[in-house]
């Protein structure tokens, strides 16, 4: 294992300590460092957005706490859900009287803990609505899309719901926007090599030298198929074909595209992938309004990438274009 760490058991806490030192104006601990709230707070009467999940996915989840994004985050161990107690602390911390959106990825551990936290928060009188990202088309058939795993596409849910909350919308409206984002985002990825959890010390599974896996989950969950390495052009076609068939996207649609690196894939390769994604969308009459290319949701040092496509309407386009800012993601309003 080649990592810049101290004690593997301190991986998460050391990371958070570093983040708090590096960006002193950004986050405050709610109780302890594993429950963090935006220092700028939630304006009175604004809906709070609480998120959380396992560590090892930066910028997910913590990096999407910021202006025009979420308000607080519960941080779990590497690839492991945080606890209900942490989520409750965050939920209380981001409640400014207008209720709280629980926005997280659809994994059972996270769901169970967020449900426990929601029950407890509700007995405090805080209204909570939960929306789960479930964009990974490799993990269930289209009819069961709500049981799919949440992957990089959660970025769009943060972006849209965060902008809607910042506009002052009420909890149902913010939840509706989050729901729009998760219902209209489709992601498919590919892994070329496994990642190593610090406390495990070796990869959890192995790949042959010329092997890739289409649809592998961000924790190494099994995907759709193992196959020999493909050219970027062929890979793009495989991913785009399946993504477009899934929603389905149609001629005349306008979309945003996220090409995400899983941790160890150079950004050069993400652009090489996008080079072939763009004409495939154009061919089918799908217009790209905005692209996001880089590391938006990682899996430690996994090698691979994913493509996410969000179908836009007038509202979501406005919300996508709104400014946002955290140390991990910045977007000024104008330009692309």
């Amino acid at each position: 294992m080649k990592k810049i760490i101290n004690d593997p058991a301190r991986f998460v806490d050391d990371t958070i300590e570093g983040i708090l030192l590096a960006h002193p104006d950004w986050l405050s601990p709610a109780g302890n460092n594993r429950s963090l709230i935006r220092k700028s707070g939630v304006p009175k009467g604004q809906v709070g957005i609480a998120t959380g999940g396992g560590s090892g996915h930066l910028p997910v989840f913590l990096g999407y706490v910021g202006e025009g994004l979420a308000h607080g985050v519960a941080v779990g161990n590497a690839f492991a859900s945080p606890s209900a107690r942490q989520m409750l602390a965050v939920t209380r911390g981001v409640n400014a009287g207008a209720g709280v959106l629980h926005l997280f990825g659809n994994y059972q551990g996270d769901s169970l803990h967020f449900e426990m936290a929601a029950e407890m928060a509700e007995s405090d009188g805080i209204r909570v609505v939960a929306v789960k990202a479930s964009d990974d088309i490799a993990s269930a058939p289209p009819a069961e899309w709500q049981s799919r795993r949440g992957v990089a596409g959660i970025f769009f849910a943060y972006k849209l719901a965060g902008a809607r909350a910042a506009e002052g919308a009420d909890l149902d409206a913010v939840a509706e926007t989050a729901h729009y984002a998760v219902a209209n985002t489709r992601t498919l990825g590919v892994a070329l090599d496994a990642c190593t959890l610090p406390e495990i010390g070796h990869p959890n599974f192995s790949f042959a030298d010329d092997e890739m896996e289409i649809g592998m989950g961000i924790h190494g969950e099994p995907g759709l198929e193992r196959r020999t390495l493909m050219r970027a052009e062929d890979l793009a076609a495989t991913l785009v074909d399946r993504i477009l068939a899934d929603l389905p996207f149609a001629n005349g649609d306008e979309v945003a595209v996220l090409v995400n690196g899983l941790g160890s894939t150079p950004v050069e390769e993400l652009y090489i992938l996008y080079r072939s994604v763009a004409p495939l969308l154009a061919e089918r009459g799908i217009a790209v309004h905005r692209t996001y290319i880089g590391e938006y949701a990682t899996s430690l040092d996994m090698v691979g990438a994913s493509v996410s496509v969000l179908k836009l309407d007038a509202d979501s386009r406005r919300l996508l274009d709104a400014p946002a800012r955290s140390p991990f993601f910045q977007q000024s309003g104008a330009g692309r």
């Binding site: 779990g76 945080p82 606890s83 059972q108 426990m116 993990s139 969950e221 099994p222």
Partner: protein, 211 residues
């Protein structure tokens, strides 16, 4: 042979022993979870167990409070599915013996049933779904049956363990319906379930104390 009866210090000692034994199994449990899940379960359990040993209040005459507190700590420090489910199970097991100062074999059966119900309520799984329940349910049933038959404490505990072990073995034939294993569908067959194995190890640890 003494009749089975544990007071609060004995329950506390059993918790300390079980958390130690389970932590020793970290690698084994993670490997099982890795086969059809994400491989974190051993670590989650180890984190939860270590936290219980470190944080559980040293003096307490209240068995229910001990178990509840252990459940809260475990759910917090283990995280993950296993944290929520085992945490809930411990809290419910505690509630089921509220106000008791010692627990006997029938109380153990009551606690296992409460744990089982808590897990089923929170996780929505049923017997045969390749989960914790597939070790817990047969163990609880065997214990109840042994008590009903008037078996010796040793015999009852052995019956419970044998049933739990059989339950683990049976999970190899099952297709996972919950947790990460469900993404594998048919491919989850042929692997014993990590969570069920943890339940068996927990009961086995308690048994060597109970004998």
């Amino acid at each position: 042979m003494t009749p089975f009866s544990l007071d609060a210090p004995a329950v506390r000692a059993a918790i300390m022993k079980a958390t130690t034994d389970l932590e020793v199994a970290t690698g084994q449990l993670s490997a099982l979870d890795a086969a059809i899940g994400d491989g974190d379960m051993g670590l989650s359990i180890a984190n939860g167990c270590r936290a219980i040993r470190e944080e559980l209040p040293p003096e307490s005459a209240d068995i229910a409070a001990l178990l509840s507190e252990a459940g809260l700590i475990f759910s917090e420090k283990a995280g993950a599915t296993i944290g929520a489910l085992v945490g809930t199970a411990l809290i419910r097991a505690g509630k089921s013996v509220r106000s008791k100062t010692t627990i006997g074999l029938p109380d153990l059966a009551t606690m296992l049933l409460a744990a089982e119900q808590g897990i089923a309520e929170r996780g929505k799984a049923q017997a045969g779904d390749k989960t914790l329940l597939d070790a817990l349910i047969p163990a609880r049933l065997a214990l109840e049956m042994a008590i009903a038959r008037g078996t010796t404490v040793d015999g009852a505990v052995e019956a419970m363990l044998t049933a739990a072990h059989g339950g683990v073995t049976n999970t190899a034939e099952m297709v996972a319906k919950f947790g990460r294993g469900r993404y594998l569908g048919e491919r989850s067959r042929g692997h014993e379930d990590a969570g069920a194995t943890a339940v068996y190890l927990l009961l086995a640890s308690l048994a060597t104390r109970a004998e």
